[in-house]
Amino acid sequence: MAQNLRLLAAGAILAGLSTVVMGQTFSALRGSTPLDQEGPPPAMTPEQNTSEREPRNYPEQPPVIPHSTEGYEVSIRANKCLSCHARTRTRESQAPMISITHFIDREGQFLASISPRRYFCTECHVPQHDVRAPVKNDFVDIDALLGRGSPRAPR
C-alpha cells in the first residue's frame, strides 16, 4: 500500500514537470498547431538530382544518395539500386560500388555478393531534399571539434 502511494506521488510529480515543459514554447515539428488538430502539410520539394557526391558528416555516416530515386523498386524481387551499384555493374554504370562491408553477413563471414541484411538500401541511404531544418540543430562534426575545419563546419 505504501509502495502504491509512493508510485502515485512520483506520478503526480512527473505530471507536474511535464506540464511545466509543455508550458514552455519551443520549436516542434508540428509548429503552433494544437495537438488535437492537423496542420497544413509543408509543400513537397523535389529530390536533389545533382549526382555529385556529398561529404559525410562523420566517418560512419552512410553516404547519402545525390540523385533522384523516384520509382526505383527495391523489393524482394528486384533491386534497382544494385543494377548500377553492384560490383559487376560498375564498369557500365561508373557508379560507386557498394561498400565491401556490405558483403559481410552477421556471423562476420564474407559472402560472394551483398549480404541479405544490407539488401534494402534505403534503410540507411536516403535521397536528399532541399529543405530548411524544421528544428534547430547545433551538431558539430569531429573536424570542427578538432579545429581542422571542414566544408560543413560553422565559421
Binding site: N49, T50, S51, H67, S68, E70, G71, E73, S75, R77, A78, N79, K80, L82, S83, A86, R89, E92, S113, I114
Partner: protein
C-alpha cells in the same frame, strides 16, 4: 446400339447435301440481280464489314477494354497508377495500347492474333489470382522485353524521340547515360528502363540485375 447412333450418319449426310446445295447456288451466275447491283452491293457490304472490323479492333485497343478484366485492372493497371506514365506534372499519360500494341497496322494485326493466347488464358484462369499472376510475371514480362528489344523499343520511341531529347535539360546522370548508350545505338530503351510502368518480376536471372 442406341437410337442416336443410328441417326448420326443421316444427320451428317443431310448437312453435306445442304452444303452442296449452297455451293451450287454460289457457283451459278445470278439470274435475278444485275451485275451493277451485285458490284454495288458488294462494295457497300465491304465498307460495312471493313468498318465494323476496324471499329471492333479499335474497341479492343482501349484502356477500358483492357481493364474490363480483373487480371489487368487489379494487377498491372493498379501498379501503373503510381508511376510517371500515369501520374505526372503535365497530365499527359500513356494508355495500355500506347506501349503494348504496335501502332502500325500489319504489326497491330499480328499482335492481336498473338493476343488470342491471352483470351485462352482468360477463359482458363491462368492468372486469375494475384499469386498466379506473380508466378507468371517473369514469363509475361520477358515476352514484352523481347518484343521491345526486337523492334528497338518502338513503342517508347513513338513518344520519346532521341532526336528531340535535350540532354542538357536532363539530370547529369541521365544525360551522360543517354549519350553513351542511346545515341550510340549500343542499347535500346528497354535495356535500362525495365519496370518503369509496372512492378518488376523476380530479376535474379535477368542480365544487368542482381
Amino acid at each position: 446400339m442406341t437410337k442416336s447412333d443410328v441417326s448420326q450418319p443421316s444427320l451428317w449426310r443431310r448437312a453435306l447435301s445442304f452444303a452442296r446445295e449452297i455451293w451450287d447456288v454460289l457457283t451459278r451466275p445470278s439470274a435475278v440481280f444485275s451485275l451493277g447491283f451485285l458490284v454495288l452491293a458488294g462494295f457497300v457490304a465491304g465498307i460495312i464489314f471493313w468498318g465494323g472490323f476496324n471499329t471492333a479492333l479499335e474497341l479492343t485497343n482501349t484502356e477500358t477494354f483492357c481493364t474490363s478484366c480483373h487480371e489487368m485492372s487489379s494487377n498491372v493497371f493498379e501498379e501503373l497508377k503510381t508511376t510517371i506514365h500515369y501520374n505526372n506534372r503535365s497530365g499527359v499519360r500513356a494508355h495500355c495500347p500506347d506501349c503494348h500494341v504496335p501502332h502500325e497496322w500489319t504489326n497491330k494485326i499480328a499482335r492481336k492474333m498473338q493476343a488470342s493466347k491471352e483470351v485462352w488464358g482468360k477463359i482458363f484462369g491462368t492468372i486469375n489470382t494475384r499469386d498466379k499472376f506473380l508466378d507468371h510475371r517473369l514469363v509475361l514480362a520477358e515476352h514484352e522485353w523481347a518484343r521491345m528489344k526486337a523492334n528497338d523499343s518502338l513503342e517508347c520511341r513513338n513518344c520519346h524521340s532521341a532526336q528531340s531529347m535535350d540532354v542538357t535539360r536532363q539530370s547529369p546522370r541521365a544525360g551522360e547515360a543517354h549519350q553513351r548508350f542511346l545515341f550510340t545505338g549500343q542499347k535500346t530503351c528497354i535495356d535500362c528502363h525495365k519496370g518503369i510502368a509496372h512492378q518488376l518480376p523476380d530479376m535474379r536471372n535477368v542480365p544487368g540485375w542482381q
